[in-house]
C-alpha cells in the first residue's frame, strides 16, 4: 500500500516537476509560481506521452522505473540548465500589483479566505467522487480504458483486442503511466491526472491574473473557474479527454497573451507545444490547434518587420480565400502528410486518412447553442458575463480590449465550435452530447479575459486606460 502510494506520488510529481522547470525556461524566470505550475502540468504530461511513445517505438518493454529514471535525468538536466542560466537570464518585469503597491484593505483580506474556502469545498467534493467511484464515463469503459489495460498487460502500445479507433493519446497514456506506476489496472485512483489537470487549470488562471492584478482578482479568477459545474463534472467523473484539451488550449492562448506583453519568443514555443497537446488530446483538438497556430501567426505578424507582416497578411487572406472557395465547392484541397496519410478538404468532407473523417452536412440549429451557453447550469453566469462585458466594451468603444489574445482565443474557439456543430455534427449539438464539452475549452479563457478587462481595463500592454465610466465633470 505504502509502495503504491509512493509510486503514485512519484508518477504524479515527477512529470509536474519536469514540466515546471521547462515552463520556467519557456516563460522566463521570476514569474508567478502558479503560472509555472499550470503550464508545468500539461508540459509534464506531454513529456510522459512522448516518452512512452518513444520508449515503445524503441522496442523497449514499458516499465515505470526506467522511464521514471529517464524523466528524472531530464528533470535534473533542465534544473541544471536553469541554474546555469539564472545569472544571465533576464528576469520578467514586475507585475502591476508590485508597481502599484501591495497594501490590501481588510475587506480584501476577508474575501480571499472565503474564496479559498469555496474552492476547497469544490475540491473536496470532486476528490471524493474521483477517488471513491470506479470508472464511470461511457467512453472510458466502452472504449479507451480497455485499450490502456491491454497496453498495461502487454507492456507495450499493442492492443490486439479492438475497442476504439482513436481517442487521443493524452488520456490513454496518462492513465497508462499511472497503471505502470501502481501496477493496478482498475483502481479509481488511476484517474488522479484528471484532478491534477483541474488544479493546474486553477493555477494557470491564478498565476496569469496575479501577474496582472491583485491577489484578490487572481483568487476570484481561480474560484470562478474551479466552481464551473461542468468542469467539476469532468473531474468528478474522470475519464474524458476534454479537460486535457481545455488545459492545453488555455495554457497556449495565455502564453500568446504573455508574448504580446514581453515579446519572449519562447512563449511561442510554448503555444506551439500546446497546439501539439491539443492535437494529441482528442480529435476535436485539431480545430483548437488550428486556432493556436493562427494566433501564433497573428502575433508574429504584429511583431515582424513590415514586409514580413504584409507577406503574412497576404498569405492569410489567400489561405482564407482558398478555404472559402473550397467550402463553397469551387475546388478541392489535398495535402500529403507524414506517414503516407493525406489531408483532404472539399465542400462535402474533411478527411485525414486513417485518422478522422467529417462529412459536412450543414444544419444551423441555434437552440442548442442557446441552451448550452445560456440556459443550462454548465457555466453559472460565465457566458452571460462574457457577453455582457463584450457588449460593454463595444458600447464604450474600447475596441482593443476585444482584441486581447485571451478574447481572440475565445472567439477563435467559438468559431471552430460553431463551424463544427453546424457543418459536421449538428446532431451531437441537438442531443447535447458534444456541444457543452466543446464550450468547456474556451470558458477558462472567457473568465481570464473578463477579469483582466474588468480589473484593470487591460492596462498592461494594451495601452488602454481603465474603462470605468467617468464621473460627471471629470
Amino acid at each position: 500500500m505504502t509502495s503504491t502510494a509512493l509510486a503514485l506520488l512519484l508518477a504524479a510529481s515527477l512529470p509536474w516537476i519536469f514540466g515546471l522547470m521547462l515552463a520556467r525556461w519557456l516563460s522566463g524566470p521570476g514569474r508567478s509560481v502558479f503560472l509555472y505550475l499550470g503550464q508545468g502540468y500539461i508540459l509534464g504530461m506531454l513529456a510522459v506521452v512522448w516518452l512512452i511513445k518513444a520508449w515503445d517505438a524503441g522496442g523497449w518493454t514499458l516499465h515505470f522505473r526506467p522511464m521514471a529514471v529517464v524523466l528524472l535525468v531530464l528533470t535534473i538536466l533542465v534544473v541544471v540548465g536553469a541554474l546555469r542560466r539564472k545569472i544571465s537570464d533576464k528576469p520578467a518585469p514586475p507585475h502591476p500589483a508590485e508597481l502599484t503597491g501591495t497594501s490590501t484593505a481588510g475587506w480584501q483580506q476577508g474575501i480571499i479566505p472565503l474564496l479559498c474556502l469555496a474552492m476547497g469545498a469544490h475540491l473536496l467534493f470532486v476528490v471524493q467522487e474521483l477517488l471513491l467511484r470506479p470508472t464511470f464515463p461511457w467512453d472510458a469503459w466502452r472504449g479507451w480504458e480497455p485499450k490502456v489495460i491491454q497496453f498495461f498487460a502487454n507492456r507495450s502500445l499493442d492492443a490486439p483486442m479492438e475497442t476504439i479507433g482513436n481517442y487521443g493519446e493524452v488520456s490513454t497514456l496518462a492513465m497508462l503511466w499511472m497503471m505502470l506506476a501502481s501496477e493496478k489496472s482498475h483502481e479509481p485512483f488511476l484517474h488522479l491526472p484528471w484532478l491534477l489537470a483541474y488544479l493546474a487549470l486553477a493555477a494557470i488562471v491564478y498565476g496569469y491574473l496575479r501577474e496582472r492584478s491583485s491577489s484578490l482578482v487572481a483568487a476570484l479568477g481561480a474560484y470562478l473557474v474551479t466552481s464551473l459545474p461542468y468542469l467539476n463534472s469532468h473531474v468528478a467523473l474522470a475519464g474524458y479527454a476534454d479537460i486535457w484539451l481545455t488545459l492545453a488550449f488555455t495554457v497556449g492562448v495565455l502564453a500568446l497573451s504573455e508574448f504580446r506583453c514581453n515579446h519572449r519568443y519562447r512563449q511561442l514555443v510554448l503555444a506551439l507545444l500546446m497546439a501539439a497537446a491539443c492535437l494529441q488530446a482528442k480529435r476535436a483538438g485539431m480545430g483548437f490547434a488550428a486556432v493556436l497556430l493562427a494566433l501564433v501567426v497573428v502575433e508574429i505578424g504584429m511583431r515582424a518587420p513590415r514586409p514580413v507582416a504584409v507577406a503574412l497578411v497576404i498569405a492569410s487572406i489567400t489561405m482564407a480565400g482558398i478555404l472559402g472557395l473550397t467550402l463553397l465547392g469551387y475546388m478541392n484541397l489535398q495535402f500529403p502528410l507524414p506517414g503516407g496519410q493525406k489531408l483532404l478538404l472539399s465542400s462535402s468532407e474533411f478527411h485525414v486518412t486513417g485518422l478522422v473523417r467529417f462529412a459536412f452536412n450543414p444544419d444551423w440549429q441555434p437552440s442548442p447553442f442557446f441552451e448550452a451557453l445560456l440556459q443550462f447550469g454548465n457555466w453559472h453566469l460565465a457566458a452571460y458575463l462574457w457577453l455582457g462585458a463584450a457588449a460593454m466594451v463595444l458600447a464604450l468603444r474600447k475596441w482593443p480590449l476585444l482584441l486581447r489574445v485571451e478574447n481572440l482565443g475565445v472567439m477563435g474557439g467559438l468559431t471552430v465550435i460553431v463551424l463544427y456543430f453546424v457543418m459536421a455534427a449538428p446532431e451531437t449539438a441537438l442531443d447535447h452530447t458534444g456541444l457543452s464539452r466543446a464550450l468547456l475549452y474556451v470558458m477558462p479563457l472567457a473568465v481570464a479575459w473578463l477579469l483582466t478587462t474588468t480589473s484593470n481595463g487591460g492596462t498592461r500592454g494594451s495601452g488602454v486606460a481603465s474603462w470605468q465610466i467617468p464621473a460627471p465633470g471629470g
Binding site: 502599484t100 497594501s103 490590501t104 484593505a105 481588510g106 475587506w107 480584501q108 469555496a118 469544490h122 467534493f125 471524493q128 467522487e129 471513491l132 467511484r133 470506479p134 470508472t135 464511470f136 464515463p137 461511457w138 469503459w141 466502452r142 480504458e145 480497455p146 489495460i149 491491454q150 498495461f152 498487460a153 490486439p160 483486442m161 475497442t163 482498475h186 483502481e187 479509481p188 491583485s214 484578490l216 476570484l220 466552481s227 467539476n232 463534472s233 468528478a236 467523473l237 474524458y240 440556459q375 443550462f376 447550469g377 454548465n378 457555466w379 453559472h380 453566469l381 452571460y384 455582457g388 452530447t433 456541444l435 457543452s436 474588468t454 480589473s455 484593470n456 481603465s466 470605468q468 460627471p472
Partner: protein, 421 residues
Amino acid sequence: MISTISNRDFLKALGLAVAALAASAALLIPGYLWLVPVFHPEFKPYIEGDRADPIAISGNRFQPVVSGDSRVDGSAAIISELAEVPPEDHAVLVHRRLFRADQFPFLRYHIEGRNPALQVMLFWQRADAPGENHFAELDYSGEGPRLHNLLRHEEWRGTITELAVGFFGDLRGEAVKLHGLELEPYSHSGILQAVWAEWTAFAPWDQRSINAYRGVPSGALMYPVPAIAIWLATSMIIILLLRQFTRRDNLSPPLWLPAILATGLTWAILDGLWLQQLFRQNAETRHLFAGKTLHEKKLADWDGEYYQGVASIKELAGNHTNDVIILYQEGHAAMAQRMRFHLLPQIMARKLHTANETWIRSANREFDYVVLLSESGSKPYSQPVFRRALEDTNAANWSMVWTHGPVALYATNRAQPATGS
C-alpha cells in the same frame, strides 16, 4: 484600483449591491407571477377558472396493492419492505377518488425516508381511459413536504378516478413513510415553491451527466441561470439609476464595485445550488463506495448484478484468455462492454455481439468460451433467443460451466471442458 478602496467604501458598495438585488427581486417576482399566463400558458385555465378547495389525502387512506411489508402508523402509511417483483422491487399504494384534474395543478407530497436509489412515482387513472396508468416521477428534493408541478405531464387532465404512489428500487434497509398528498389549486406561492423544488431537486450521476449539466429536471418551469442573470441585469440597472441620484456625492464608492459585488453574490447563489447537488451526490457516493475494496465497489456499482460473475469467469476461463466471446440479449450492448472491461486484463473478449443463430454457430469455430448476458433480473436460459440455441444440439452443443443471475459461462464444443458448474 481595488487597493484604493477602503473598508467603509466596500461596505457601502456591498450595501448598495444587496439593496439593488433586493429591489430587483421585489420587482421581478411580482412581475413573473403576473406574467405566468404568458410564460407558462398551461396554467392559464387554472388561473382564470374557479379555485377548488385543496384535497388532502393522508397516507393511511392509501391501500397497498403491491408491497413486501406495509402498515399504517397514525395517519401515515409505512413501507418497510418492497415486493421482489421483476424487473424492479417495488410497492404501490392506491387511493380511489373522483376529482377533476383541471382544478389542481400542484401536488404537495410529504414522504419521509427517501433515498436516491428509491424512485417515487405518482400514478393516476382517468375516467376516459380506465385501466390505463399515467405517471409522474416525484423529484428527490430531500425530506419534508415538497411541491410538484403536475402540469409537467400532459396526461394530467380530465377526470381522475384513482391515484397511486409507487416506490421503486431500494429502501436501503430504512422504512419509507408516506405522510400524505395534497392536491392544490393554483396559487402564486405554489408557483414559487414549485420553482424552488425544481431548482433544488437532486438526481444522482447518470451517463448523461458528462454531456451537460442542465440544473433542473426535464420540463421544469424555469432554468436558474437565465433567471438569476435577469435578476442580476435588473440589479445593475438599479445600481446605475441609484448612481445617477448619488453622482454628486464624491464619497460614494466607484460604480463598478457594487456591480461586481452583485455579480459575485448572484454567482455565489448559483454556486450554492451546485454545491448542494455535489454535497448530496457525495453522500450518495460515500454510501455506495466508501471503505470498500475495488471488488466491493464494483459490486455496489450500477452494473453490480453483472459484475458479480466476473471473478468466477476469470477463474474458470482464465487459461483461454483470447478465446472468449460475449453474446448479449438485444439492447444490452452496454452490459457486454462493461463485462469486457471488467474481465480485463486476464480475459480479452475479442468479440461482442447480439445473440443470433449465426454467431451462436460461429462461436463453436472461433471461441472456446461464450459469456451470455440477458436482461437484468432474468437468467440467460430463460430468454428465448438463448434457449432455442442451447436446446438445439446442432447449433450450440455447449456445456454450461457457470451461471449466476443474468450472466452465464458456457464452454463451446471446441474447448476443453473446465471444472465447476
